[in-house]
């Protein structure tokens, strides 16, 4: 067993175990930390696939940004020591049935399909110059339109978040 294969199985084991723990843990802060482990192991998979830039983005944006944001909002909205009630049985069974039926169906479809790689393609190394040129490129393989659209989306999301979470002046008495 080479190191590649060993790392792949280790990372997949971490991802699946902590995904299950994320949705079953009855303390909210712990569930968030398990999600953090899942995200870090996922970025390990990206390193394994040789996408170093995307792995760095995953580490900084997800693990550094979103998880911190979620922890912040947990501390604002609930007690840390609070434990969840057990879920209602019908919801639990619906979730388990959805998991089993969905994953069996999709895995069966995947395994019965034969993925064929076009043999003429050479794999290009992913370096920062190529990523930057294509991300801001106008011609073939250029993504400048989606880049601009997503910058407007982020601006809109920022303004929306500020407007929604702002305290209104006349309801100051019954807040928090």
């Amino acid at each position: 067993m080479t190191m590649n294969v060993f790392m792949f199985y280790l990372l997949s084991f971490i991802i699946l175990t902590f995904s299950v723990l994320t949705i079953t843990s009855r303390k909210m802060l712990r569930a968030t930390i398990y999600l953090l482990f899942v995200l870090v192991a996922t970025s390990g998979l990206y390193f394994l696939l040789n996408y170093q830039f995307l792995a760095a983005v995953q580490l900084t944006l997800y693990a550094g940004g979103i998880v911190v944001l979620i922890i912040f909002s947990i501390l604002l909205t609930s007690h840390i020591s609070q434990r969840f009630k057990k879920p209602e049985p019908w919801k639990l069974w619906m979730g388990i049935i959805a998991f089993i039926v969905g994953s069996v169906l999709v895995s069966w479809t995947l395994l019965s399909h034969n993925f064929i790689k076009n043999p003429g393609m050479k794999s290009t190394p992913v370096d920062m110059h190529l990523i930057g040129n294509q991300l801001l490129g106008l011609g073939k393989n250029g993504y400048v339109l989606s880049f601009e659209v997503i910058s407007i989306l982020l601006l809109a999301a920022m303004i929306t978040a500020i407007v929604i979470a702002k305290k209104e002046k006349n309801q100051k008495s019954d807040t928090l």
Binding site: N4, V5, F8, S12, L16, V20, T22, I23, A31, T32, L35, V38, T42, L45, L49, Y51, L54, V57, Y62, G65, I66, L69, I70, F72, S73, L76, T77, S78, F84, K85, P87, K91, M94, G95, F99, G102, V106, S107, L110, L111, I116, K117, N118, S123, T124, L130, I131, Q134, L135, S146, I150, L153, L154, A157, M158, T160, A161, A165, K167, L176
Partner: protein
Amino acid sequence: MIQGISIYHFLIVSTLMFFIGIAGFIIRQNLITILLSVELILNSVVINFLVFNRYLYPDQLQGHFFALFIIGVAAAEASVAIALIINIYRRIHNIESDNVNEMKY
């Protein structure tokens, strides 16, 4: 192409992760934990994009850029969702999804 690991291994892992996220979306009752399940789903989709890019079309970077934009959209979605959750908490003082069954409070 990675030595010794076929495309099916990656796809099975991301499939299981996706449906764990779906199950969590159904089982959980707290709004923030539902948001965690959505993050799991988005991550599994990003793995799929990258694996198809690397194994089937390695001469281009389409899946890579799609993954980059998904991560950006996920950040926007998380920030708006958390603003909404904080606003709901101010109004009804808890964030269980059973108590949020009306649009207008």
